[in-house]
Amino acid sequence: MGKYGWTLPVAASSYAGKIDFGIWLIHAAMLGIFVLWGAFFIYLLVKFRARPGHNAVREDHDDTPAHISVPDSISKFPFAQMLYKNKGELKSLIPDMVIMTFEVALIVFYAIPVWSSIKSSVPDTKDPVRVEVVAEQFGWSVHYAGPDGKLGPRKMELTHFSNPIGLDLAHPDSADDVVMGNEMRLPVDKTVLIDLLSKDVIHSFFIPEFRLKQDAVPGLSIPMWVTPNKTGKYEITCAQLCGFAHSLMRGDVFVMTQAEYDAWYQSRLATKPASAQPTNPAEAF
Amino acid sequence: MSQTYNPTAFMNNADTHSGVTNAKLGVWLFLASEIMLFATLFTSYIVLRMASSSWPWGWDVLNVPLATLNTVILITSSVTIVMAYAKAYDKDKAGFQKWMAATILLSLGFLVVKAFEYGAEFKLGIGPHTSVFYAIYFTMTGLHGIHILGGIAVNAGLLYMSSVTEHWENPLFLGRVEGAGLYWHFVDIVWIFLFPALYLL
């Protein structure tokens, strides 16, 4: 593994390709703009350098535009007249128009549709994996809803080091729930619905390989989704400064086949403690 | 360099590009920034209230009669400061001092009433930490109170200056009274918005 990577990490989710497309497209455009302008810039510097016998030449519009006569056809329209008289100066808006057209196209055909497909709507899948991710200083708890698709309720007063998210284990919805610390296992090619929460400060849930990033804000439960499409081991990191051990706040994501995932989930359920609930909730603090 | 240079000369000069003295323009710009300050607080108030699950009604938890009294006091003080300005304009020193003193007394009265309100709340153990409503209530009225204090300081300064002949006869004096008056009206208007927002709605 080299130490001077030039490019994006592997793309491992269904929408990663769409995001990468935008990144590459914009960078290609940026490079094009920069090279063209750069060449023009250097050409100007060389051509118009001060040297004996070379004098600066003013542009037409540098002298009073009042003297510029206006064609009769627009003599009735003051605004058109003003534009006409300043047309020398308005040349500088031509590159602007080109860039603006590119930007409008980007917004209309790329940014808005892709953004809403990623952030505002959830793909219509039956039987998604439902997960709740609770961030805290300095780790992630991944709470699986299990086969019933229902997340067990959480209660703040049950929070305990053995039950970091305060899951109410007595509740029937919690029966098939599993809570993992800093570890997330997902079946490949299956949509995962994630509710993102935070217990304390703002964190940001970032899986570079999924091109997935979302701030976790205390007091809010933020829905997001992802469909991993490559098996492998990836990384969850915190992208928002969350305190002195911010850089240590990480976890692993394992994307596995459905069969492997099911087997793993069953093994977790089997080893799940009967009740991790403290007998006296007051001791939690 | 034999040139005489008097930086304050430009404060005298109404013959500026805008036709307004520097001092007056400065006060207006200052008020623009003050508007942004209070607008931010009002925006925060709206955002917090919209997002809140429960929000107390001012009538239930605050002393509306006292606040109404304060509203009347402040509006009256706006009138008296205009009278003070009119007297200064007429070069009526005694009249100016009378109306300015009245303004200062009224603003002190406002603070006393406010102190009673705060006192009653503190006695019940209520403070900014009690809820977001009280947090915004104490912050906004407190900041407004600080602005009142600032106004009192300025007005008292002008009252003192009017007793010194040198200042009273200074052509800048009227402009200063006008600036103080503009500021005082602003403080008054902030209260006109605060009162319904916190107490009535």
Binding site: F40, R58, P95, I99, Q137, T159, G219 | T40, L48, H129
Partner: protein, 574 residues
Amino acid sequence: MAHDNHGHHELSFTERYVFSVDHKVIGLQYLITSFLFLLVGFALMGLMRWQLAFPGSPIPFFGHLFPADLAPNGVMSGEFYNSLGAMHGTIMVFLGVVPLAVGAYGNYVLPLQIGAPDMAFPRMNMMSYWTYLPGGLLMLSSFLMPGGAAQSGWTSYPPLSIINPGQTVWLLSMVILITSSLLGAINFLVTTINMRAPGMSLWRMPVFCWAQFVTSVLLLLAFPPLEAASVLQLMDRVFHTSFYLPKDLVILGKAYAGSGGGQPLLWQHLFWFLAHPEVYVLVLPPMGIVAEIIANNTRKPLHGYKTMVFSMIAIGVMSFMVWAHHMFISGMSASLSNFFLVTTMIISVPSVALMTCLVFSLKGGSIRFNVPMLFALAFIPLFAIGGLTGLPLGLTVTDIYLHDTYYVIGHFHFVVVSGSIIALMGGTYYWFPKWYGRKMNDKLGLIHFWGSVITMCGIFGPMLFMGLGGASRRLYDPTAQLHNLPVQGWNVVATYSAYLLALFQIPFIYNFFNSMWRGEKTPENPWQATTLEWACPSPPPHGNFEKTPTVYRGPYEYSVPGRKTDFWMQTDKN
């Protein structure tokens, strides 16, 4: 107080150099102070860069000078790293670049360029500096206070900023600094509106004055919201209110005692409502400086003076409507993001127009490559990199990946350091003859220029690649996260470039102070410029002009056909 007539008595040393009401002295006070703060902010960065390149190894030379709680065994702690980060950002933005761009250049040059004898409120001007300095020193002193300096980044997002130590002093000094810049902004606006010399209509003002004017409006209207937001955060910290704290926080296993009911995102909205206009405060005055230098050294009028001015005004207005593009992934509503996406693309239009005008201005010129001109020319491509890399960050979809990565850091450092600071340094070389009647040394200037430009690219270029690799910002130990390992080498490149950049500032500092006393003496108008600041002696006396100048024409009348000289000063009747 209305009667102290400064011409009538000799000023004491204190009156002349310390509590001076002369805009020129205040401008130089700002200049020296803000350059010093830039150095301090840079030094903090130097420490951080060591940790980033070589995480966990003791800081060489200085490591053991720090108290054990900050840097046990010479290795900096996570808390100390976060303090350095927060203070680096705060110092660079609020104590370095803004006071340099506005306080120093604005103060010194603006009254001269519009033909005013001083600022509208000279005493307020002095107060502005004397609130800035204590505010800045208070900010610095927070390193020595129990709990250390603020640790929540210069953005101070709650709830972290409310539970972290050090933040109270940060907030207090921010309130002081905001007061200082409000005093300055009012002063600049009144001066520009009221105190222009006869004949100096708004459309004859140099671009630099327009830039300062728009900047002052931004400062006046954008800073009070941050002041209000800081007051609310101060209340949260000192009086335990919950403006920014929701219910049921559990901090490191302990329930947080507070009423709850607040909104963490409220701060972000209020903060960015200031901080986006603030970006243009950082950029517009340097752009004005670049415009001045380019017009002067191409010996022709700027291409599109009006376009530039209207673009600046448009940027000023639009900058109040783009703030939430910093918050695309903050949990804000997704449709709101689309709105800010559109406004962000709109604001790029006047920005591109400004850059286009600067490049087109070269066409037809007779370009002199002197030291200030080199800085101004370097500004164009380097700032363009900064501007272009803003594009994928302003676009919602690509921002999902690039947000909060090193790409952001690279982007805004290209804008502010190799853009603004390069232009501001160019301004020093350009106006130095006006300040001291002497010229800065060209050879040292060339060393400083090439050294700075190349090493800046060496620092910020790698950051773009690190960002593409997915490296998050503000990581105390980047190697703790596996996906950073493939780009960790770039951190080493950036670190060594930063140390080289520091070395290349030595010729500048030496040149500055050496030229002050021993530089080559220059005439009143060494650059053969047209604007008013060159129509008075160097350095200008108290009161600036011998007699009030009259202005007869626009700011950049160079190479007018049929004239003996290729420059036609604004004050020359014919």
